[in-house]
């Protein structure tokens, strides 16, 4: 038994040292003025969504034109916004009414016309935009919305379930125990695996049948960099404020981890797409990073 364990350790170590990651570019996104948070890169890496510290409003940055477009001014619009596979942007706004309850409204922003449309009327309770491979959707407790009948594959979390919707067939999985709930589900670029975060467990990789393929550790906000790697956030706190925060590169099979930024850098909220990585800092400085991975 000891020999097997030793062989496994040596094998893992060889795999671990077999990768070599170098940062080839790391620069502030200067066209973005003011503190910016919750960045989301499009799949091709050509566009970036971001918002303010309070998630009020939603902005779209185009790497080609270096222009920033205001998508929405509404409260909450910047939290959880996604790029749909159809090129539209799906987001949820929120409003507090006289009864002091929060009502959420689903929106679709058409980049071609530059206009937003309400796709799910205001309702009390949770609502989240969901990216699909060929469109977008809105999921809420009472009613849902899809941009088309067939939006391809979409993944998201609700409570302690990860939901995988393939061609309108929804399957719910709870592959690991997590009382507090699941978060941050995303589909790998090849569409074969799902990464999500389970509170108390960390980042989990499953296949489309809900089988656990890997556990990547207790990090947050996983986002696929390519089919083999993800970026994630690693924070520590003292119960009241953050004491460290960094961006990690994680291999999807759990065999490799690399620190892209130092723990003291207070970098957070990573997103990836099209070979780019974008993250922000605790004081809202958006940074573009490019890396090279040698196998």
């Amino acid at each position: 038994m000891k020999r097997i364990f030793f062989a496994l350790m040596v094998g893992w170590a060889l795999v671990a040292v077999a990768q070599r990651v170098t940062v080839t570019e790391q620069s502030r996104l200067l066209p973005v003025e003011g503190p910016a948070y919750y960045p989301v890169l499009s799949h091709d890496g050509e566009q970036l969504l971001f918002t303010s510290e309070s998630t009020q409003g939603l902005n779209l940055y185009d790497f080609g034109t270096r222009a920033v477009t205001r998508v929405s001014d509404e409260p909450g619009a910047g939290y959880g916004a996604v790029f749909g596979g159809d090129g539209s942007i799906y987001y949820v706004s929120q409003e507090r009414r006289e009864n002091k309850l929060i009502y959420r409204t689903g929106h679709r922003y058409d980049q071609a016309t530059g206009r937003s449309a309400v796709v799910l009327e205001a309702q009390h309770g949770p609502m989240q935009p969901v990216a699909a491979t060929r469109g977008g959707a809105m999921k809420s407790r009472a009613r849902n919305y899809s941009s088309a009948k067939a939006v391809g594959t979409a993944v998201y979390t609700q409570g302690s379930e990860v939901i995988i919707d393939i061609a309108g067939r929804e399957r719910r999985f709870s592959p690991v125990e997590s009382w507090a709930g699941y978060l941050w589900a995303s589909l790998s670029p090849d569409g074969q695996r799902v990464a999500f975060f389970a509170a108390e467990q960390g980042i989990i990789i499953i296949d489309l049948n809900g089988n656990v393929l890997a556990r990547l550790g207790n990090y947050e906000m996983p986002c696929w960099y390519d089919d083999n790697y993800l970026v994630a956030q690693n924070t520590t706190d003292d119960g009241r404020q953050f004491t460290s925060s960094q961006i990690l590169l994680l291999k999807a099979d759990g065999t490799y981890k690399h620190e892209l930024t130092r723990p003291t850098s207070m970098t957070m909220q990573p997103t990836a797409g099209g070979g780019k990585i974008v993250y922000t800092t605790i004081d809202g400085n958006l940074t573009l990073m490019k890396i090279n991975i040698q196998q």
């Binding site: 998630t55 002091k100 309850l101 929060i102 507090a180 009241r240 953050f242």
Partner: protein
Amino acid sequence: MKRFYFFSLLLMALVMGMGVKAAAQDMPHIYINPGHGGHDSDDRNVVVPPFASGDTAGFWESNSNLWKGFALQEVLRKKGYTTSISRLANQTSNDLALSTIVALCNQSGADVFYSIHSNATGAGENYRINFPLGLYRGPDNQPIVPESDRLALELVKVLYQNQSTVWTSNYATRGDWSFYPQWNNQGLGVLRGNNAISMLDEGSFHDYIPETYRLINHDYDWVEGFNFSIGADNFFGYSETLPQGIITGNLRDERVMRTATYVMHGADARQPINGATVRLLDLYDNELATTTTDQLQNGIYLFKYLDPGQYKVEVSEPEHFTQTKIVEVTANAVTYCNFDLKKVRNTPPEVVSYSPVWNDGDDPVLCNTPVVINFNWDMDIPSTEAAFEISPAVEGSFTWEDTNYRLVFTPTDAYDVNTHYTVTVRASAEHAGGTAMEHDFTMGFTTQERNHMAVTALFPREDVAVHYKSPIIELRTDAQVNGLNVYDNFHVYDKNGNELGYNRRQLKCGNSTSPYGFVRLPMANDFNVGEKYRLYVERWVQDMDGIHLAEEIDHEFVAVDAGEAKAEQVIYDGEQVDGITTGGSNVNAKVTAVTTHLFGSKAMQLAYEFDAEDDEPVATASFAEPLEQQFTAGDTIMLHIDGDMSCNELLACFEAVDGDGDDFDLSLGDIDYHGWRFVKCPVENRGTFRLKGFAVKHHTQGYAKNMGLTGKLILDDVLWSEGEIFESGVSETTLAGVTVQPNPSSDYIVASAAGYIRGVELYGMNGQLVARNGANYINVTGIAAGTYVFKVYVNGLVSTHKVVVVH
């Protein structure tokens, strides 16, 4: 009729049910974050007995936060709210990252986010406070998420109504950016990006130890959770979301105080009742519920979910009288009902021990000895103090200890010396239960012959000149000074009344091996030349027995530059010591040239160590040859002395030239000062003299007999000048403020000065000493009529006066 009654009830239930349902359709969703957990590094453990450090059964902020969270979730669900909670256990794995908690809250679609915490001062043990604080994201009064400030306010207002605790100030709400300015607007992690109306509650201060004990109690935590639900109701404008109420309270002894030394405010100073049985009764005394307070010094009890109406709460505990109160419970509210229990005291009070225990023939007691009387019961303070007598009467104060079982009487100043005192506690003294003693109690003691600490030497004395550089304050006493209260009692003020600081690291105090008591305080900074300063020593400077000074010291002195350039002729500059030999009797002495100097680059140092057994120890430093300069009567010798407060006498030794007069030693005064001093003294002897050296003479009697057995005397520039001549050849140098009267005199000549007079001498006009006294007067009734010179030694200087004796 029965059918009508049934339908009426059904209709009423439907109406009420519809009301609840109507609300339930759109009831708020509240996300509960019971703080951080795990009994680990980001948790807070306050160690209180009986729990050891790290014992998870003791106080941990994560424990109490979780219990509050459970209670809140339980009550909110009963009220129809939707709830989510971020943890259900207390392991490190449940201690979610702040950003994860925020994301879970946002995904849940919650309307309100409560993060439950308790506070700590983070200050020293003597600073403890307790009040509820609500924090929201953003600057004060400008919440990032609108209404969050209102949510915080509605909560802390309810928490502040908790009467089971003791609040030290009113509730507060703050924006976290303003409250934590050092975090540069980063604020609290669980509020960053949180889209719900959100706040972090610091319900009370867990490092205020009485509160620590309460927070260990689950019932107390449950009530805070319940109060959160009231806060939520108030925020959303709901009322009576729960058709039931609760009763809770705190049991304390009505007068017995806690014996602990931690900070206690208000009623928390009184002893909580552990292990009391609390029964809930209806008005017909039927028992509805019962509970028992724990053993953890909090006295908390709780009855949950009671229908509105009147109840009786009965509290019993073997050492206290049973007490019952009628209380009113209202729906969705807390009824607070505290009890102050009266202790059972079933025998008359009596004295069980006392001190000082003194019998005829015993050694006298210290003149500050407190009278301590221990009773068998906690005593009633007014009647006992009124029953206390001490004879002869002496002013003093009472203190009570051991929860009023012990009375201590301490004299304000001191008892008289060599006096027998009788103490009586008359039978009118009562214990706290109101029963008086059966008999008078009497004790007695006799005091020692010393009741105050005496000042044997002081620098600076009143009006003396103090060299401005590196000044030192020193008090010498007849007993070792207790260094603990020195800083509180020694004060030096500048001319504007500003108190000056000391170099505390260089403070020196005598210890048990010192031959005399002293405290030496180097000033932190130099004085300003020409300015007046004030020395104020409070009378509470004590020796090791607590005996203090008889009176305070309060006088002025002036700063000078002793190294000011002089016009007179320098006859020895101290730059070299070649040829100077040391001698004397029973002394080890050595002369060196040292760099401590006023002029040039060096000065002469005479270091000496006397044999304490020797009767007349003297150390001398003699030039190889007497100096060239000749002195005649009326000339003045002047020199610069760096004093070490040896209190030894310094003498200039003169040798007659070619037999013109007799060799003599001229006193330059006692070295009862620190730092440089310019001293001048007239030569009064008839003849022609040359300076052959100096001598240091130890006092074997009087104030300085234990001082100066070792010393280092440093001399720089010695000068000569011609002085004014009396007709008889004796010069008169009168110091300001020194008066001598009457003059002429037939019985006593008395000197007075603002400063301390160490002695007086009477010389004949031929320079011969006629009389000397260590006091301030000389009796001249036996001295022949004539003209004399009267010398007054004051503040280390000599004031010389011409006086006439008549008969």
